[in-house]
């Protein structure tokens, strides 16, 4: 065995020794075990949703106030109860919003107002909505790199009169389309699903009926 081979063997042993105490979390085991029953994707989002500190996706959004944003709104026209932990206002004024916990656009905006957050609005993303170039679109194959349902906003960092408008839609179970925009004056009431932007070229957007 050459010196080089010995060195390789030494590094191999050090690799294994360094990580041998690393074990899958109970959550990961449960989620993987659930994959055959078709609950794997949901489990993935569920697990990520409980880790608000993770920035799984940092988007090229031209809005300085958003540190990293990824929105995941669940469908459904009914009003879903809003979880108490959906919005967290930190002592430094930073606001963290777990939109997956909000479940409904109207309920989300009601929570913002209740927390006196007036410079952030969530709007529905619909096929009937006209395209507005002020939105920045991204599509992310969340199968590979699921974004957490987390928005971090620094309201104090926004210019006076500016409002951040967010919209998102899960186009299918593995693609998430998000739209972000910074607006002054009249705000849009919806966002079109047919935007252009990073990752949008490879997705087929199904016809939508009504609003979500």
């Amino acid at each position: 065995m050459s010196d080089f081979d010995r060195l390789g063997e030494e590094i191999r042993q050090q690799f294994h020794a360094a990580v041998e105490d690393l074990h899958p979390s109970a959550e990961l085991i449960a989620n993987v075990d659930a994959i055959p029953s078709g609950r794997g994707a949901l489990g993935l989002f569920g697990r990520l949703g409980r880790r608000p500190g993770r920035i799984a996706l940092a988007l090229p959004v031209p809005i300085a106030a958003i540190v990293a944003a990824a929105v995941f709104l669940f469908g459904g026209s009914g009003v879903t109860p809003v979880s108490a932990r959906a919005i967290t206002v930190l002592p430094n004024g930073e606001v963290r919003v777990q939109l997956s916990e909000l479940g409904d656009v109207n309920a989300a905006n009601a929570v913002f107002r209740r927390h006196h957050i007036h410079n952030m609005v969530v709007v529905p993303m619909t096929a009937s909505c006209p395209y507005q170039k002020s939105f920045t679109y991204t599509a992310d194959p969340s199968m590979n790199r699921p974004p957490p349902p987390l928005v971090t906003l620094k309201p104090r960092g926004l210019a006076p009169g500016t409002t951040v408008v967010l919209a998102a839609k899960s186009i299918n179970w593995h693609t998430l389309v998000t739209a972000f925009g910074s607006f002054k004056g009249q705000l849009p009431t919806c966002a079109s699903v047919y935007g252009t932007g990073a990752g949008m070229g490879n997705i087929t957007v199904p016809k939508q009926t009504g609003t979500k």
Binding site: Q14, V19, A68
Partner: protein, 182 residues
């Protein structure tokens, strides 16, 4: 009556495949997670990637079941590469920005954690290509040719990255050992 027979058999096969997958996942999950950690140096991210890997493996179980370990290793590498590509596309000001007071790294209280932390820091200091090549070669036991194919690199580059990476890693780990000893 042929149809119900077929459906029953199909269902039985599906259940059999589910069990096979679960058995494989249970046995191989730790190995995948550890390899992912060496590549990504982040436990949470590694868990995400491993779960996505397992989803991909299950979706292709019919072909994957012939050699599930090899298939899942390849899937893991591909998903890691997707992640790296996406990360490179991000504007630099958004990268690596930590949120205050959330998910601080677990302190290395124990020897094992310290050992892992030392390896993490050492791997961090390597060039990306060296780190990937070393982990593929010496943790996942891929050959030079397989590593070259997976990383889309010439074999010569894999060999040189292996050589330089090993020497650098030894120097870095040796230096950190000396520092902790003194």
């Amino acid at each position: 009556m042929a149809s119900p027979h077929y459906e029953t058999g199909s269902r039985r096969r599906a259940l059999h495949h589910d069990d096979e997958f679960r058995q494989f996942a249970k046995a191989y999950l730790p190995t995948l997670l550890r390899g992912a950690y060496l590549l990504l140096r982040d436990v949470d991210l590694s868990e995400d990637v491993v779960q996505a890997t397992m989803l991909r493996v299950f979706r292709n179980w019919r072909s994957a079941r012939e050699a599930p370990e090899a298939y899942s290793r390849r899937a893991l590498i591909n998903i890691c590469r997707d992640h790296w590509r996406r990360q490179h596309r991000l504007p630099p000001e958004l990268l690596g920005e930590d949120l205050d007071g959330v998910e601080e790294e677990t302190p290395a209280f124990s020897h094992r954690l310290a050992e892992r932390e030392a390896m993490t820091q050492a791997l961090d200091r390597l060039q990306d290509v060296q780190r990937e090549v070393l982990v593929l070669r010496f943790y996942f036991d891929f050959s030079v040719a397989q590593t070259a194919e997976m990383l889309d690199l010439p074999e010569g580059t894999v060999k040189s990255a292996t050589h330089r990476g090993l020497i650098e890693l030894r120097e870095i780990l040796g230096a950190s050992t000396d520092e902790s000893a003194s």
